[in-house]
Subunit: 629 residues, 2 copies
């Protein structure tokens, strides 16, 4: 359908191209790509992932992990072992004498219900390694270097409707002995027939270009430098995230793992323009010049590299100007998808890049998995663009406002720098207000998916605080039989299953009684109707959440249908020593009448329905995207 | 000095015995032994550990891990991954109709400041595996099967005073190729010359017998059975710890990992006595009989093995009667030590066995390490027996009371069973009161070491809640530079270092000022005086805890001497989002005047001294056991 290369290139390196089939081919092994490959491999999907680079990223690039991202993938323990944590943000502005002064400090993140109330900072290469190691356990490895050359999607409507059809063809130079030997060998031409292709091949995406999808948006005029160093400094907030407005440009500190810091440094025309030609000349800039600009901003504080050793002290640096663009479409024929930097670019300073990218594929992979298992209709894949393109647009709108506030000069009345009047600048109060306002969004916790085939807010009032279309709110709940406290998010992992949380309400003494049994039957029937479970690939996990007291609750009083295993019965009460947990009904806004909450496989609330007549409502919800068995 | 074997045995298997030297030889690779070997190997001590059994324990035996034990060794994460957790205890007694009734439920542990507010249950073999895997990283493996035959300690007082002297000789049948190949080979006679020997070789300790140390105490008349099963039951509290008093004997449930449970079953004379001869005949008893006795006690509830399959459903079983004894001495010449079951035996029902054993060697190993490094005088080793034998006596006193309360029949007025009057039995209220009273002790948290060379309570009033001689109370504290919350126990790991916590108090604005700088100098001087640090083996870690607010605190205002690294400055305030932490001074009972707290390498508070004149007091404390440099 769409391809950017000529057919004559196909056989350039081999006379007889190898042909192969795969359910999902992922092009590009950055964070979005390896996140997708890992999730698909864990779900048992037949998947391959290729990358044109011979090795993975070793330094620099993205490193901010937002609170919601930490929650999402079940890799929090591994991630937090090495990551730096940002708990506090500090704000600096010029004082009356022009030198930097701390204007205030505040929590680095604003949402009140973040399970991990901080940002984590870890080098992109380490994040990728986490996924690569997990993938390897499921026998999935990145094939590299692999250069794809042609991408074709069948135009046959009948084939496109059949999810089992290998409707996409990708050919190119693959490495020999792929999968078995990770070392690159002689390339050979291979033609891969895939049911689905995910292009996570970055800002200059070959996949996107092959599909001829334009990027919409514009480039800003601001030019920034980024510098990762081992610092030597007397700046008091060097281990906090800092937003620094100075008269000569803005600056940001991101503390990093192993005592390093990242500096984002705004460059002025004077810095980057050739004084003779008047043209922007980035070639004249190196880490020494960047550090010099930074050092000027930090006065009266000292900001140097450790031991004055630029060789050892500078880990990575780059210059960039901000493009704020989003792809016109996210998929073609619901067969080839683009995700991550391939479909949105924006400034790195709110720490969104890697998060937005991984969350794109997090949103996509369970849908592809359900389609491949024959559970979901192929039309469910349309919700990927619907949900994630809207998010990218919001992100870029936010980035425009925030970048501008950050890039313009501070407003300080009575201070005039270089003969320039500063009354048009941004005050600390304005900047801080924006920081707070956008905090829910930047943490990832405020992400809200609009109503669609998979998001049905009809009965929102039954769980007034648990917003349908948003992520499941963290909550400590007891396991009924042994009163062991668990985080409900840990009981609802991203494992391809829908979680049906049955809030039994105030039924018969402690346990849900006759009235609630209707709800019970409903869930079980839904499971039977749609489940068609193979071992390890159940479509549902049903958990019942009871009201009761830990001193008197008896899990064996819960109807047996809820107890295929004793661990499926939960109790809304505080822990034995009353230190954590309790008030789950209250925190979720669920009343004594109970409710049934459907949590999507990606951890977002799909719908809430009443206990009474739950079967009918659940049927209605699932009928919108599930194929009947 | 003392040996129980004849010299003629030495060369039984080899004509020319190998001779070798080692700093510490550990005999017996149970929990106490591997705990010691791991700690010594981690500290870089030259250590060997041998065991007479060809393989490690595979099932049954001890499995309860108390809250204090979870805190102690830095292995909590690994331990908690697989362990079952006991949060709730349930109490059952006969109801008016003779059938079991729940009399009440309560938290399984009573102390309010347990960091891990539950008991963990994990098979002894898994606990040992944790230590074995950690040891292996430090190139230390158990040599097995190794049968020691002769133990001799020099009688030369001068040699005994010299910690560098290989004053102990152990010879026996060792495995060839020891250390390199863990597989047992042909045994060969080896003579090991060790500076110190630790005998952790169990209740029938060869080491203890070699030293001719008698066990003091007595055997009880109660006979119990223990049975590990996969249950099939409708008993509501099968996942909680249960103390069950019935008219036909008592019973206890300990829920275990992977859905298993352990039953402790009291056996009556009728069960174990041969009806013809009238003699106790344990040979007639097997798991089926034990289960039958249990099933009788649980009526009206059903208690069976899963699928009725005794072959698969029963994992382990044993019969025992309780001996309550403690060794007369714990060491000979401060050169050979016994620890664990080798020096104390008691009933398993309060879950103390493995804990008491590991805590014995936890107490001992840092002292041996300090002596071997030339820091501590050899006399410090006397505190091992002083502290741990007292504890064992307390444990046995407790066990006598608790076992009796648990083994005698329930007192139920108006109920007469088998014509027997029950008014002399124990009421639920009496039993529950004992359960609560002893909770602080059984959790391990109440362990209190009396004043000695290493425990000096002179200035207790300066930290009124932080009891000198007890473990450091858990507390969340912020790292000053980045406001990241840490558990203070994690900042004071068992790594052979004394932790000097400088509570700077209300000095100059936020940071400790001129007055407190005296304290500063004191610590630094102490470090210089005693430290003689080699890389990785510092004797002290100094942390300063400041009063202040996270919004305004500036860690760079703390005198530089406290900041060899920015992470050494702590702040007593709640976390950025105010969710955890704060009130450390208050919780420890430390006032505005501050204090210096010395935490021993095993996590117990060694002393507290005033900031003012700290050097003199610290000198006095350390002079009692530290050799001057």
């Amino acid at each position: 359908m769409a391809n950017s290369s000529s057919a004559s290139e196909v056989n350039s390196s081999s006379a007889t191209p190898v042909e192969s089939k795969v359910d999902v081919l992922i092009i590009g092994a950055g964070p979005a790509g390896v996140m997708a490959a890992n999730a698909l491999a864990m779900a048992g999907v037949d998947v391959r992932i290729v990358d044109k680079r011979p090795t993975k990223v070793m330094a620099g690039q993205a490193d901010g992990i937002q609170p919601r991202t930490i929650e999402s993938y079940g890799l929090a323990d591994t991630l937090l072992e090495d990551a730096a944590q940002l708990h506090m943000a500090a704000f600096y502005n010029p004082g009356p004498d022009g030198g930097l002064e701390c204007t205030g400090r505040a929590p680095d993140i604003t949402p009140t219900n973040a399970r991990f109330p901080f940002e984590a900072i870890l080098h992109q290469g380490e994040i990728e390694r986490m996924f690569l190691e997990s993938m390897e356990k499921h026998n999935c490895r990145v094939e590299r270097p692999v250069v794809p050359k042609i991408l074709e999607i069948t135009a046959d409507e009948k084939r496109l409707r059949d999810a089992e059809d290998y409707a996409v063809m990708v050919s190119g130079d693959f490495v020999k002995l792929q999968r078995l030997a990770p070392q690159p060998g002689e390339p050979e031409t291979e033609i891969v027939h895939a049911k689905f292709v995910i292009g996570t091949d970055g800002a200059h995406s070959w996949t996107r270009k092959s599909l001829q999808i334009p990027m919409l948006g514009s480039q800003t005029e601001y030019i920034w430098g980024v510098l990762d160093i081992h610092p030597s400094t007397d700046f008091p907030d060097v281990r906090n995230r800092c937003a620094i407005h100075t008269l000569s440009g803005s600056c940001m500190i991101i503390p990093r793992e192993r005592d390093k810091i990242r500096l984002y440094i705004q460059l002025t025309d004077v810095d980057v323009r050739d004084p003779e030609s008047g043209r922007v000349d980035l070639g004249r800039f190196g880490p020494a010049q960047l550090l010099e600009v930074a050092a000027r901003s930090f006065k009266p504080y000292r900001m140097e590299v450790k031991d004055g050793d630029m060789e050892k002290g500078v880990e990575w640096w780059a210059l960039y100007s901000i493009g704020q663009r989003v792809a016109e479409r996210y998929s073609v024929s619901d067969r080839v998808f683009i995700a991550g930097d391939a479909c949105h670019t924006h400034s790195p300073k709110a720490g969104q890049g890697m998060n937005a990218s991984m969350n794109d594929t997090h949103n996509l992979v369970w849908k592809i998995t359900h389609v491949l298992r024959g559970w979901a209709d192929i039309s469910v894949l349309k919700t990927y663009e619907f949900e994630r393109r809207k998010y990218a647009q919001d992100l870029i709108d936010f980035d425009k406002k925030f970048s501008k506030l950050f890039s313009i000069k501070p407003k300080i009345e009575d201070v005039v720098a270089d003969g320039e009047d500063l009354v048009e600048g941004v005050t600390h109060a304005e900047f801080f207000e924006a920081f707070q306002t956008y905090g829910l969004f930047t943490s990832g916790i405020g992400v809200h998916y609009a109503p669609s085939a998979i998001t049905s807010p009809t009965h929102q009032h039954l769980a007034s605080n648990l917003i349908i279309g948003e992520r499941l709110i963290p909550q400590i709940v007891l396991r009924g039989a042994d009163r062991r406290p668990f985080e409900i998010q840990d009981l609802c992992p991203s494992d391809s299953r829908f979680k049906i949380l049955v809030f039994a309400g105030l039924g018969e003494p402690v346990a849900p009684g006759a009235a609630n049994a209707k709800g019970t039957r409903a869930k079980v029937q839904a499971e039977r109707t749609y489940g068609r479970a193979r071992k390890g690939t159940e479509m549902f996990d049903v958990l019942v959440v009871c009201m009761g007291k830990k001193e008197t609750f008896v899990h064996t009083a819960v109807p047996e249908v809820f107890r295929p295993h004793w661990s499926k019965v939960l109790l809304d009460d505080s822990s034995a020593k009353k230190q954590i947990g309790g008030d789950m009904y209250k925190n979720y806004g669920i009343g004594d009448e109970g409710a049934v909450v459907v949590v999507r496989p990606d951890g977002y609330v799909g719908t809430v329905v009443p206990l009474e007549g739950a079967m009918e409502d659940l049927n209605k919800y699932f009928a919108a995207f599930v194929r009947r068995g």
